[in-house]
Amino acid sequence: MHSSVYIIWLIIILTTVILIILLISQVYKVKGLKGELEKTKKSIDEMDEQAKLILRTDLELNKTHEELDRKMTSINALQNISRAISTTLEETQIFKSIREYHIKDMGFEKALVFLWDQEEKKFSLNLSLGYPQEKIDPIINFVNANKDYYLLLIKREMPITLYSKNEDRTVKDKIMKALDVGNFIISPILPKEGSKGLMFVGTGRLDTAKEEGDDESIAILANQLGQSLENARLFEKTWAAQQELEKRVEERTRELSRVLEEVNTISKRKTDFVSSVSHELRTPLTSIKGYASLLLSGKFGALPEDVKLRLAKLNNHTDELVQFINDLLDISRIESGKVAMQQGRCDIKKMVDEVSDLLSILLKEKRIEFSYSIAEDAKYVLADAAQIKRVFINIINNALKFTTEQGKITLKSCSTPEGIQIDIADNGCGMPEEAQNKIFEEFYRVDNLINQQLRGTGLGLTLVKNIIEAHKGRIWVKSYPGQGSTFSFLLPPAA
């Protein structure tokens, strides 16, 4: 009995000990789990802190990205507006080029542009975007009611914003109320030419925060507007001046045309007059010369010597007069186009030889050396040989006249891109520059000692000029007093 009780007690004690041991081990286990739980909780909290860090970094990145995007869009919009307003030179068109989407891209919803009208002494509205029609008049009235303030803003040449520290808050509130905006920027428009103005931009949302750089962007836009207005006004001015100039040129051209027509008519009349007078004079002169020749021939009996002498003089003077009239007639015929040049292939050397033969006695008398050189590629001209010979005779004769004894006359031909150029040079007395411009005019004679001693008509070089020009050539002279003269002319080459 005792032993069984003892065994039972032993079992109870053992069980209790085992239970205690198990309990202790469970307590330790729970403690361990609690530790694990704490660790897990700590890890979750740490991860949550990391999540916060990630979210904040992501938010900052998004903000930077957004700001960058906004700036890019704003710059693009600014560029687009600049392009649009710089492509026109008409003031009204400049404002029409700015569209609502441009302003929206710059981050604003509303825009107004006012220009100061100096004559009317008030601001006029030139651009309105984002406002319904019924709001326009009250806004214009508001701006003009406070025009002194806005003129001061133009004078200060600085943009103002809702955040400008120097501006009175009540003024800003009034602007916001009148323009129905929650945020605004006002920037002066300052063209160098003409009336200045102001640009207003704003957003309708009262909560819109100010973005950095907005005022600079609007100042750039206002500046660009100012420059475009300046260009348009300068263009307008230049265009008006040009129109005036064109009008004057047109009037003067008309006047000149009328005068030229008159000159041509007079010139034609003169040519006709000279031609008919010459004709009328030549007939009696031919008779005079005929009778003088007959008397001199002695067919009507011997004449006293002094009568003979006078008749010979009469005969000579008649010859001179006939030559003079012939020259006059030729000039007027060539001028009026009545004489057609019989153009053909002419050998320059042959013509020069014939002329030097003709003038050989005179050349010998004054012991003047005449030489010529004709380039290989300038041997032939397309010309009327008889007329060109007259040109050679006239010029060489003149050279003979103005070259002192033992002087030199040279003739040279060469090919130029303009044609065959012939230069006839002498080392005679030459002529002053003012005479060179007039030498080809009718009846002009250089005022020098030789001309005072020798007779001349002053028609020779005019005839020469007319002949050359009738060949579509041109003639000019270069001369140095005391050194000589060079007459040059161009003629078309013969193939």
Binding site: I44, D45, M47, D48, A51, K52, I54, L55, R56, D58, L59, N62, K63, E66, E67, D69, G204, R205, D207, A209, E211
Partner: protein
């Protein structure tokens, strides 16, 4: 099925709709269309535009909505309109309806009436899906949705988009026949031998530990973990409450709250609509049940674009399991995208559209709009299951083929 689509970027609504109609009519050469779906930017909304459509195409019903941006094969545009004309096959039909004044008390009854009208007038079987467009939030728990589910069954797919404006400056409208409507819900039910498939994904991933909504009512969370709800954002993002809605970036779109849904892999997103700075409570575009868990969500452009790929693949998978033979059948895609994605992807919204186009057969007409949120079943190729109100999803519905 004949499908015609027209797009116009004209600013004048009448010129725009006429231009879009000219293109759309080419796709429906025989007879009058059975339906016109119209999406446009808000400034084009005009009842004259709707009358012009009726004058040209006849009495076919018009259903549609304005949105932040429109989607078409040619791209995403924040100004313009896109119009789709549909001529359904003989053994398919549609029924359209509208609830003109939405209010919580009467929605259930209105929904029931709408569903009954549909059942009475609609003889086509099977009933394929219902499309809901609204200018108010369409909650999965709303009376309207509950009534439709009660009448049509829980597996009847309801797909929709809504534009609740909150503090937005531009007003959105619904298009229904000749009328512009507000505070309304327009519905279109399609039935008959027409295949369809849908998919929806967002691309946001949870970050940070789970928190519990300790106090909420409808779409307002008052406290999370016993603290004012706004503290969660202040704590995680380190920004003051004011910056949530009025900061330089759209924080609610970038970091929505995610709610885990039993049996679903993706979280249901909730986007902040309003911040009550005094009480610290947050108002969302959708219901937020008390006791539920929430986590802050984060996404990148890559995860968003990847989600688009998954959504279109899911749509195609459901479409391919359709019962109707597919030979030579035409199809079209309706895309409902969200403002949040527009905010994140910005200029890359075109990439998202390219992803969708790449997965569709070349030339498949696509129209859609960007809205504040939508309604769509989150999954299942076998059973569409419950439709959830979502804020940041891309939902694609392919019909036909």
């Amino acid at each position: 099925m004949d499908i015609g689509v027209g797009l116009s970027l004209e600013k004048n609504p009448i010129i725009a709709v006429k231009e879009a109609l000219r293109s759309a009519q080419h796709g429906v050469p025989k007879g009058k269309p059975d339906l016109a779906i119209l999406f446009s930017s808000p400034e084009l909304s005009s009842s004259t535009m709707l009358k012009t459509i009726h004058e040209i195409i006849g009495a076919a019903p018009i259903i549609g909505s304005t949105g932040i941006a429109i989607i078409s094969n040619q791209g995403v545009f924040n100004q313009g309109l896109v119009l789709m004309l549909l001529k359904l096959p003989e053994n398919a039909g549609i029924h359209t309806s509208i609830i003109n004044t939405l209010n919580a008390a009467a929605d259930f009854e209105s929904g029931k009436e709408m569903a009954e009208r549909f059942i009475q007038n609609f003889h086509y079987a099977p009933r394929t899906f219902g499309l809901l467009l609204s200018d108010n939030v369409i909650e999965e728990s709303s009376g309207l949705v509950r009534a439709l589910r009660e009448k049509f069954g829980t597996s009847f797919p309801l797909i929709g988009a809504y534009n609740s404006e909150a503090d937005r400056s531009q007003r959105n409208y619904l298009y229904y026949n000749n009328e512009l409507s507000r505070n309304s819900c327009a519905a279109m039910f399609l039935g008959g031998r027409v295949n369809f498939g849908f998919g929806t994904k967002h691309g946001w991933e949870p970050l940070g530990k789970q928190h519990t909504i300790t106090s909420s009512r409808d779409n307002v969370i008052k406290t999370i973990d016993g603290k004012p709800a706004v503290k969660l954002y202040e704590d995680y993002l380190g920004c003051p409450a004011r910056e949530l809605k009025h900061g330089p970036i759209n924080i609610p779109a970038l970091y929505p709250l995610g709610m885990p849904i039993p049996g679903e892999k993706e979280y249901l997103l909730r986007n902040i609509n309003f911040v009550d700075e005094d009480s610290g409570s947050l108002h969302f575009h959708g219901s937020v049940p008390e006791g539920g868990s929430v986590r802050l969500m984060i996404a990148t452009k890559e995860t968003c674009l990847n989600a688009a790929k998954q959504a279109i693949k899911q749509s195609k998978l459901i479409l391919s399991s359709g019962l109707i033979p597919r030979e030579n059948a035409k199809r079209f895609a309706l895309v409902f995208n969200s403002l949040a994605r527009y905010t994140i992807l910005k200029k890359e919204v075109a990439k998202e559209l390219d992803i969708i186009k790449a997965e569709l057969e070349p030339g498949t007409p696509i129209i859609g709009l960007y809205s504040y949120g939508g309604l769509i079943p989150l999954k299942s190729t076998s059973c569409p299951g419950q439709a959830y109100c979502n804020n940041q999803n891309l939902s694609i519905l392919i019909v036909g083929g």
